[in-house]
Symmetry: D3
């Protein structure tokens, strides 16, 4: 049970940083993919991060939830934006969407303050 997602996401950063150093060629290419996705212009990056959050909840990836909740906040997502993203995940995922959505809400609360 995660007690604070601020600490938790630091752990995610450290672990993924270790992987980037250990495997610079494929992880660098993955980094370029992330960069390329952020550069397109018909959708604001806030919406892309909320999409990534919706996916993270749907596939039950806790590290991803922490990471993309933070990114969504950094691109200006509000609490209502996050709650409506969670609601889409419940529509598309039922009870498991709700329990992982509840983690996203806790992550939002922990990270926004």
């Amino acid at each position: 049970m995660v007690t604070n997602y601020k600490e938790y996401v630091n752990g995610v950063d450290q672990r993924i940083g270790t992987l980037f150093k250990a495997a610079p060629r494929p992880m660098g290419a993955y980094g370029n993919l992330v960069q390329a996705v952020s550069e397109s212009s018909s959708l604001d990056n806030k919406y892309k991060e909320l999409m990534a959050l919706a996916i993270s909840i749907s596939i039950r990836c806790e590290d991803c939830i922490a990471f993309h909740t933070r990114a969504a906040i950094n691109h200006g997502a509000t609490k209502d934006n996050v709650l409506e993203t969670i609601a889409v995940a419940v529509e598309m995922g039922g009870g498991p969407g709700a329990v992982y959505g509840a983690k996203a809400l806790q992550a939002y609360t922990d990270l926004v303050t």
Copy 2:
């Protein structure tokens, strides 16, 4: 291999319609959940449908891809919007995101005309 998603989504509609008739109480409640998700107001329904599409690609649900591509179009999503949604799904899903994203692109092309 789906040859035309316009026909395909009609098949999805029929099948889901049969389920609603056969199980009106739980499916009616599910319909109310869908309705509730669409009523919230901080995110335009276009973005919610693109999120649902991003999830559909990520979890490899072809019926869902057909259904939510059509819904996204009905809420004003452009080809660029769909392509950027696919790109997020590739970032969050690699090769499987790409092959199911390619189905979403075909669905968009079939359904928009």
Copy 3:
């Protein structure tokens, strides 16, 4: 789009039969596992097959839906039993549970007659 699950499940049988012949040692061991699961006695096999169907819908495995709908019918599952199993899958899986549940309902209808 499957037009008849009776034919479809024959295709599944053939394909899995080919795999059993090609890899008799691991597939025989898998067959023993299936046998072992069916032998336990606190739950009737009808319920075990409905559980397997609920899982099949939830993980979006169409071959599994066809296979376990047939097995559930063979162990006495009624249409109401199948509909309530689908309802659990919708509670636990939202829209994707509904569209794959709709396939299970079609499979039931095709296979029971």
Copy 4:
């Protein structure tokens, strides 16, 4: 590593309670769906909860395992019922079904006492 699922499920309750309060309209609709699923009558709710548990193990949702193991116990599920549900999940999920099934067994043991 969860040390006690009794405490753990309290955490799940709190988190999901926070989500219900923050998003009352969609979560209320989801609650109605759960209610509707429980009202149908051809399958006892014990079997529905065991199905939900089988799904929870199969999709590797630990919060769901804790939640539905408790619900199954509340509807009269025995240890043998839970073990046979786990066995179905192993048949339908191999090794990952076994390790998450082992969590369900621990949850049963923690929650039944």
Copy 5:
């Protein structure tokens, strides 16, 4: 039901080719990632393609199964290699691993001739 995976994989190629043309920046970056993965040298690419096939079976991605079975063949994978990869997927995925493994075996048979 796929009747011939040789034709089927051509359809996958076409669809993914359309996506690369429509979204050259992110898909080009994804292509670079694929390239980077193939360049590392401690594991022969035959094993990497068999791993990709094992993943494809496990996540039930039929397009991916067709694609990576072909790639594995192109890197020298034998029928026994493919059968042992399927066996690992059954160990790690139970019945759904078996039915999608059976598709991989059909794909191998269709594509090798």
Copy 6:
């Protein structure tokens, strides 16, 4: 957040051992399946364990990652082998593959020493 995978995998062993004792018939059959998979001879068991690890990362099963990283090490897998397996999982799974791949790398580091 796992602090040491050496301890963690002991917990996995204990829990799965408890399940084997509680359900000896189906779990014994599953054990035979695992044995059967290891006996085939066209692929060294090191590669089979790396495949199992690739699947474990792709399906986000942390217990499985710990278990199969240890098994891969026991069959002679090097750090480069594990890193290339992670790279395949990123190609086939994007960001979620990266964060769970990062757990596999930590598991390797914790377990090899």
